[in-house]
Symmetry: C2
Subunit: 452 residues, 2 copies
């Protein structure tokens, strides 16, 4: 790889720069100033020109003037913005009961049973479900349990991983940037960059890097509690293939007495278009699976599934209670979201529409050599922008320009990866053929515009 100019590490990909707000319409500028005053400096907006939203429906968002945006970014609302079935289920349960898990209720048990049936492997056989409100809480709890179970401290992640925003999960989320310190018991391994490395070697290389990390953790007295990864490597740049990478890694981790945690916050709930869970594409049998974002189509519900032996001592000695986790309404939202995913065959839709989008984007490569690679699976698509397809030098500026050009055309996507040079296309799972065509049309126009 040639010398790239990485994005400033304290800044986020596709973040709005308040210093550059001079050109905004007065209404937006006033709103941004009010926001800075009320919410403070830790909050960030997307895009050079932030998007104001007033309502949503399906794959569309609308601003106060009624302008329509095509949402090709938000995976949380996987069954569509303001999905009427989920809204009705939440409304009905809110009008009936919303309470916690220290009383007996059927809803949580029905959902847990249904959810556990999706896993297969050891979790499918005898696993338990536990509920939190956010993916961060799920990963935090997973690592707490992994440490309690193994008696070890070390955590191994990919180089640009993101696993959450609690103190613990932030400490093994290198993508938060250099100002956010990693724990001394954290080791990073390169993600399987299928664009730059021979795909046939990816599994062997990653397993070797994980073994080296384990050895180093052991040498430092921490040992390995867990390896945790998102099988789509979303924040590393979206590497959905090859799918024979994580099984050898799991083997190495298990041999050292560590646990394999599959972080399915991004890849789960059929996002890949191929399997219900991302780890299933790699043929691994995880000890813990964490989940979140799309689970309740926007209602704050998340959780994990775990093999009994990992939670046995933790459950006896520590117990777990999360006031809102697994509450009656959360379970109703999750149940209805899962029903819609199944009944509307959204996995099949994602496979078909995702392939159509990737084909269309691939077709643009000849006229647009800045597109280094089109990759992904289902409706999780990455487009790597480079300065030159021969050198493969990352082009974060080109990606940022495209993201903002599309935003001006009212199509919402973002970017990811260490250099921020990989377009991230990750729409609601109800994204249809016509939506894909609109996306491709606008993408082509944006690329042409950039060419000048």
């Amino acid at each position: 790889m040639t010398s790239p100019s990485p994005r400033p590490r304290g800044k986020m990909v596709n973040g709005f720069d308040p210093e550059a707000s001079g050109d905004l319409p007065p209404r937006d500028r006033a709103m941004i100033e009010r926001r800075a005053r009320l919410l403070g400096p830790a909050y960030r907006l997307f895009y050079e020109t932030p998007v104001q939203v007033s309502r949503g429906r399906g794959v569309h968002l609308y601003d106060a003037d009624g302008n329509e945006y095509l949402d090709a970014y938000n995976n949380v609302v996987s069954v569509g913005h303001a999905n009427p079935r989920v809204a009705a289920a939440v409304a009905a349960q809110m009008g009936t009961l919303c309470t916690h898990t220290r009383y007996l209720q059927d809803g949580i048990l029905d959902y847990a049973e249904d959810l556990l049936s999706t896993f297969g492997g050891r979790i499918g056989e005898t696993g338990h479900a536990m509920f939190t409100c956010t993916g961060s809480e799920a990963n935090d709890l997973a690592v707490r349990m992994a440490r309690h179970c193994t008696g070890k401290r070390g955590i191994i992640v990919t180089a640009e991983a993101y696993h959450g925003t609690t103190a613990l999960t932030a400490s093994f989320s290198p993508s938060l940037g250099v100002s956010s310190p990693l724990g001394p018991w954290v080791r990073q391994v390169p993600a399987p960059d299928s664009y730059r490395l021979p795909p046939a070697e990816a599994g062997r290389r990653m397993a070797a890097a994980v073994q080296a990390a384990i050895d180093d953790l052991t040498r430092h007295g921490d040992g390995v509690a867990a390896f945790i990864a998102d099988s789509l490597f979303s924040s590393d740049g979206i590497f959905a293939h090859p799918t024979d990478v994580l099984a050898p890694v799991a083997e190495v981790v298990r041999r050292a007495g560590g646990l394999y945690i599959a972080d399915e916050v991004q890849a789960g709930f059929t996002r890949s278009g191929e399997r219900f869970w991302g780890f299933q594409r790699h043929g691994v049998d995880p000890d813990i699976v964490t989940m979140g974002k799309p689970m309740g189509n926007g209602y704050p519900v998340a959780g994990l599934a775990v093999v009994p032996e990992v939670v046995e001592r933790f459950g006896r000695e520590i117990r777990y209670f999360n006031t809102f986790g697994g509450n009656s309404v959360a379970m109703a939202a999750a149940r209805e979201t899962l029903a819609v995913i199944r009944e509307e065959k959204l996995m099949e839709n994602g496979a078909k529409v995702g392939a159509f989008i990737r084909d269309g984007l691939t077709g643009l490569m000849k006229r647009h050599p800045g597109i280094g690679q089109v990759r992904g699976t289902g409706l999780y698509i990455g487009v790597e922008m480079v300065k030159d397809p021969a050198s493969k030098e990352p082009d974060g500026a080109a990606a940022a320009a495209l993201v903002n050009a599309l935003r001006r055309r009212r199509v919402l996507i973002s970017a990811t990866g260490y250099f921020g040079n990989v377009l991230k296309i990750r729409p609601p799972l109800v994204f249809g053929q016509a939506d894909a065509e609109r996306l491709l049309t606008e993408m082509e126009a944006a690329l042409d515009e950039a060419k000048g």
Copy 2:
């Protein structure tokens, strides 16, 4: 204090013992077995005989057979179970838009402005609001920011504090029991036990204990990042008075360069019946205020308010994003809950009904010397059960027997404190005069029954 028999530290107060499930009705036993299979060993139920719930309304819960329970325990549903106004606000917003904070939206700004107006002090002047999904996340973020701001690590809490269930917050929550290790940078100070110590000395003693903890943390190289407390000392045993305790503590902490974090998850949103926030009763001006449970009447919404200088560098260097935190529906739920609290004058109701309950309970002391003290404020009431009012020896067994006797009479309360001997009465804020009378009638009957 004479030699008490503390409850087993791995067990919770008022937890159901699955070993003792033999006497339960077959339907409940089957449900409990199903629950153990699906949710695993970390989940606990309340009561010797768990309560099954199917619906709720106002201060009442109902089981599948239509039996009515008087809820004198659940503070989350502060404006009442299945409050129709909050349910309608959530339903309307779910049908319109539910998205995150990286787009411009009015709802979050309107709510933040309204919320910040309740604080007074420095936060009221120029503070910022930040939103999470749970009180645990709020406390986790508060301590992350406190450490980033001060460059110190030490955290000082009360002896039986509870501040959350993330890895970080659990590590400064001694009430989770001895199996859950405290961080090496945590120091505990005794709560102001107004039953056993001269109230006039409480502030001086606590400030001295905090100073000693600061000195010890400094000696160990950690220094003090923050003191954090719930001003009602709920998990320590509910000590609502005296109210001149925390100002001298804040003074000592600030002099050492540490921050004062007011954990208002329990005491906030008018629970005390006297002020909107619990810390206001002590006249302190906190650096960070965290909040949760009743904020959205059961919808998972929580957050914090912070003075600008504490979040300034954190905001610039780290940023903060919580996918579901501050989402459109969370803000609608919180806004409507706050409106109901104000419009139905629930603070005034809590003051009046709470005083009536405390008077009634105090009236029972003569015939029932096991009641050592009745205390609290508003609708947060503690009843300390002792073996003998002279020795003040804690009687956890008597408290447990009363909690379960009331449960048989379909009145729900719980217990708290290190010895589990303090009855915890903490109903929805819509608890009325007739509800209070029913509670007192059943309490008297349960006490008489225990006397035999």
